[in-house]
Symmetry: C2
Subunit: 231 residues, 2 copies
Amino acid sequence: MAPAGSSRWCPTPQQLKMLEEMYTSGIRTPNANQIQQITSQLSLYGKIEGKNVFYWFQNHKARERLRLRKKLTKQLQQQQLYHQLQHNPHFLHYLDSPASPAFQHLSCYNPASANLFPQAGIHDEGGKQVTNYTWNIDIPEKMDKNKAIMRMYGSDWLMMVDVGLPLSSLPCYSMISRPPLKTLELFPVTASNLKEECNNINNNNSNSNSSNSLSSVSCNITPAKVPLSLP
Amino acid sequence: MAPAGSSRWCPTPQQLKMLEEMYTSGIRTPNANQIQQITSQLSLYGKIEGKNVFYWFQNHKARERLRLRKKLTKQLQQQQLYHQLQHNPHFLHYLDSPASPAFQHLSCYNPASANLFPQAGIHDEGGKQVTNYTWNIDIPEKMDKNKAIMRMYGSDWLMMVDVGLPLSSLPCYSMISRPPLKTLELFPVTASNLKEECNNINNNNSNSNSSNSLSSVSCNITPAKVPLSLP
DNA sequence: GCAAATTAATGATTTATTCAAG
DNA sequence: CTTGAATAAATCATTAATTTGC
């Protein structure tokens, strides 16, 4: 819970629980649409903004990785891990990929069809020994470009709040009382921008996963001319 | 110039020139307001989005740093730099701080009043010797928190496009044909967001330097630590 | 000259690091 | 000590320079 004049977001237990479930369900780097959905869902349980969701996943992923790395290093020092890895070199893979098949449409790549090339090595870094495990993931084809979280930087953020629904299959959604879906308010877009986006779509349409055209338009209002008065 | 179906932004010569001038004028990490202003200005010379501006400054800063670092390393190997540093340990400071006093109101911290604590050291990193120079910049008081570019992530992005004016004193503005002033169109903002922003203002108003309260929200705290590591 | 092949620049993302609130 | 927030570094990916063989 966030204190009244708090400077930073403080997740409610409910929010935290849902976030964690989404994480264990396989969500790692939600895109703008997903973030918007998650945010509006979680906002029913307390104050929250999109950036909080973004940061949470970023931090959580990074720190889980750290924890695991630390743990592994310890285990390595204390024995046997090496054999474990040799017998099942993929068992770490879940770190960066969806854990549940239910979320393949969220992460936009299918681990089953990806080729893994595990590598492991030990080297020196600043005096202390470090163990690196690297998996080169060969993704079959170039997939949905819209994943980019950075898209939120642009003014496009505005447009990204429309549509989106696939979140409904999350375990946490069935566990909690399902809040009513909200309709999001869209801002007008210039004709030229729309045309441009359509071109992009034509270039990139590899996946026909999208349910309606608006969602695929995604979202960009280029600041065509955001008028500003400069003194 | 950007090819028709190009996947990435390609700055026009005009845009590039202006960006470089802004950089040499001292802009390093523009905040949301500044990015929005820059974007709408540069959009007169070609297609551009806020994120392009953001990325450009981030990349340019980082790569300038790299270039300088490399140059210095070379000089070090080839002679005398060490003495240079000892005689004027601050001469690297411009890397992350405003170059021109005209932009103190943009960066919101006055280098003149900052205390610098230069440090230099050599240590081992992964086998090869590394020299680090670090300047700890002691900022007099905790200043405006709103500097964060990350604010653009949140829905507050909307809020940030208002106000803002100080860009006019840039050299590049006087060099190019001055485009006609436009009136900014504002999007509706929810009451809660407004309230929030107001709270932030109330919490952080330490400096009375600003002419109006809204514009003062948008300033920059340059990093409290300007670390340089020489490979 | 002029493409195909390489290499260098640089736009865009991701990951690591750091700061600071609580 | 944990973790939200922010920045910097590393990395990926595409475009532009350039080299090369013809």
